[in-house]
Each structure stands twice: as structure tokens, then as C-alpha cells.
Amino acid sequence: MANKEEQFKTIVTENSERIKRICSYYAPDPDEQKDIYQDVLINIWKSLDNFRGEAALSTWIYRIAVNTSLSYMGKSYKKMKLNVGTDTLNLNSLIQDSGYEEKLMEEEQLNRLQIELNQLSVIDKALISLQLEGLSIKEIADIIGITEPNVKVKIHRIKETLRTQLKGGDHDKE
């Protein structure tokens, strides 16, 4: 048990920023972020006995963080928001347009992006949150449990939709 406690403390200390970021993507409210964060820690504790090192520790942490965040929403999956801010990492990776990166710093553009992100489905939001973390397609596939080509297609589709919407196109929203 002492070993488990040490392992748990090390994992949490080393990954707290990562977990915190995932929680902040899913909950705008600081109190909710804290609640999800705590649930993630509880689930890390519960899953620790099952960790065999088959997946990378970071993948394992992301799985728990994403699954806990999705489960936290319970029946309110569809109301789940994906929150980004000017300090969000890899924000430009969503648009893949160097010119647009600067525009994103403008409040209005960021608000538009925020609105468009919240039109996405739950899984698309999860994929985008992992993309914002700068994970590779393979890592995202390992976390979500689908094939790499499938992740690639889905992310490409999401980016296309975002790009079109933000440039004033009229793709159908879900």
C-alpha cells in the first residue's frame, strides 16, 4: 500500500498540469474543474492496480482524464463545452493557417472559435482536446480506442468544418 501511495503521489505531482488542462477544456466553471480534477485523481487511484505499463504513462493518464471528464457530464454529454483561451496550447493547430493565429488573439475571433468548438459532437471535442495537447495521431488513437486512419479522417473533417465556419462558410452544423 505504501508503494501504491508513493506511486500515486509521483504520478499526480508529475502530471498535475496535464490533468488540469484536460479538466479546464471540459468545464468552464472553476468549481467544476476542481470536481473533475478530483474525480480524475480518484480514478487514477482506483486504476493504479491495473496499470501494467502496457501503454505509456501519459497515454494512461490521458485516458483516465478524458474518460472521467466524459463520464462526469453524465446525462449532459450534449451540453458539454470545450473551453479554449488565448493561453491554450497549440491553438493554431486547429486552423493550420499562420495568418489566422494572430487573429485568434483577438477576442471576437476567439469567441467565434469557441462557439464553433461547442457545436462539435462530444467525441469531436475529445479529439480536439487531445489535439490541443499536441498528441500524435497514434497517441490519440490509443487513448480513444479507434484506428489511426479513423482519427486522421475525423480530425481532418473537424478542422475543415472549423476553417469553413470561421471564414464565413456555411457548413451544416450538427
Binding site: 500500500m1 501511495e5 500515486f8 503521489k9 499526480v12 505531482t13 498535475s16 498540469e17 488540469k20 472553476p30 474543474q33 476542481k34 470536481d35 480534477y37 478530483q38 474525480d39 485523481l41 480518484i42 480514478n43 487511484w45 482506483k46 486504476s47 491495473n50 496499470f51 501503454a55 494512461w60 485516458r63 483516465i64 478524458v66 474518460n67 472521467t68 466524459l70 463520464s71 453524465g74 446525462k75 454529454y77 459532437s121 462530444v122 467525441i123 475529445a126 490509443d142 487513448i143 480513444i144 480506442g145 479507434i146 479513423n150
Partner: protein, 191 residues
């Protein structure tokens, strides 16, 4: 575990009281284990006790029908014990470190209503029904055996059906929406 009882400094995780959280989690783990063991002990005590009192007792007042009734009670306890163990095992195995798709598939299966578990509940209730019927068959004073059986059924079936319907309604409100969402996510992932 009530999350509000633990004070986190979310913006400064290094100050977070991890020790408090761990102590609470350990306490929660032990509490769950204790509850699970207590329930199992109740069955492990009740089953032999009822077997002794209702089936194998040397009490001369126990006739064959009483013993047979006791046997069905004991059988229904055994089935309830199996259901309890199955439930405990299933909920212990919830693993958030699985890939999202696998976790959602498992959640959808866990919250399915038409599973072996429901069949086991019905089996336990039927065994209990036979036990109750055999017991009251001797105690009721009506002349016709069929009337006595029907009399017991007229009370037992509505009571158990109501309990089952309440259970199904609870499932519809609490678990079905989660199952539907989990299935929707799996479907989306497979597209």
C-alpha cells in the same frame, strides 16, 4: 466519497492536500470492502442457518412440505448471493484507464436491463414464490388446494411485479440515459 469535503488548491496543485485525499480514498476502499464482506457474511450465515432450521432440523413439527419450502427459500438466497457477487465484481472492475471506446461499450453493457442478471432476479423471485406458496399452503384454511395456491399468488405476484416495475422505472430514469449516451458515443466512434 464526497468531493466537497476535500479542499484543493486547484491553481497550485503542489499545495494540494494529497495525503488527505489518499486517506479518504483508502477509507472509502476499506468501507466498500467491509460493506461487501458484511453482505456476503449475512448470506453465508443465513444460508446454513436457514438450511439447518428449515430443511435439516430434527424438529418433529417440520413436515416434508415445510422442509421443501425451506429448501426453496435457501435456493433463492443462493441466487441472490450470486447476483450480489456478480454486481460487486462488475462494479469493482470499472476501469477508467481503458480506451474510451472500450470503456463506453462496457458501460453500455453494464447498464443493459435484459441481461443474465434480470433472469437471475426472476429465478430468485420464482424460487421464493414456491417457498412462500408451500409454507402458506399448509397454514391457510381454505378447503381447495388450488384456492390456497391462488390466494398466495394473488398477493405475491402483485407485490413482486410492483417491485420489479419500480426497479425498471429506476433503471429508465437513472441508467438508461447513460447507456443511450454511451451507445451514441460508440456509434459515433465507429462511423
Amino acid at each position: 466519497m464526497t468531493r466537497n469535503n476535500i479542499q484543493f488548491d486547484f491553481n497550485n496543485p503542489s499545495n494540494m492536500d494529497l495525503n488527505t485525499l489518499m486517506n479518504r480514498m483508502k477509507a472509502e476502499d476499506s468501507r466498500n470492502l467491509r460493506i461487501s464482506r458484511s453482505f456476503q457474511w449475512i448470506y453465508w450465515i443465513m444460508i446454513p442457518l436457514y438450511s439447518g432450521l428449515l430443511i435439516f432440523s430434527t424438529d418433529g413439527e417440520l413436515n416434508h412440505l415445510n422442509r421443501l419450502s425451506g429448501l426453496f427459500y435457501v435456493l433463492s438466497f443462493i441466487v441472490f448471493l450470486i447476483i450480489f457477487r456478480k454486481n460487486t465484481k462488475e462494479f469493482k472492475q470499472i476501469d477508467y484507464s481503458l480506451p474510451t471506446k472500450v470503456m463506453m461499450q462496457k458501460a453500455a453493457n453494464r447498464y443493459q436491463i435484459l441481461t443474465g442478471r434480470l433472469l437471475l432476479v426472476i429465478l430468485a423471485l420464482l424460487l421464493m414464490d414456491v417457498g412462500v406458496t408451500l409454507k402458506f399452503y399448509q397454514e391457510l384454511t381454505m378447503e381447495s388446494g388450488i384456492i390456497r395456491v391462488l390466494w398466495v399468488q394473488a398477493i405475491y405476484i402483485p407485490v413482486m411485479t410492483t417491485a420489479l416495475l419500480i426497479g425498471i422505472q429506476v433503471w429508465r430514469v437513472k441508467q438508461k440515459p447513460i447507456r443511450d449516451q454511451a451507445l451514441a458515443i460508440v456509434k459515433e466512434l465507429e462511423q
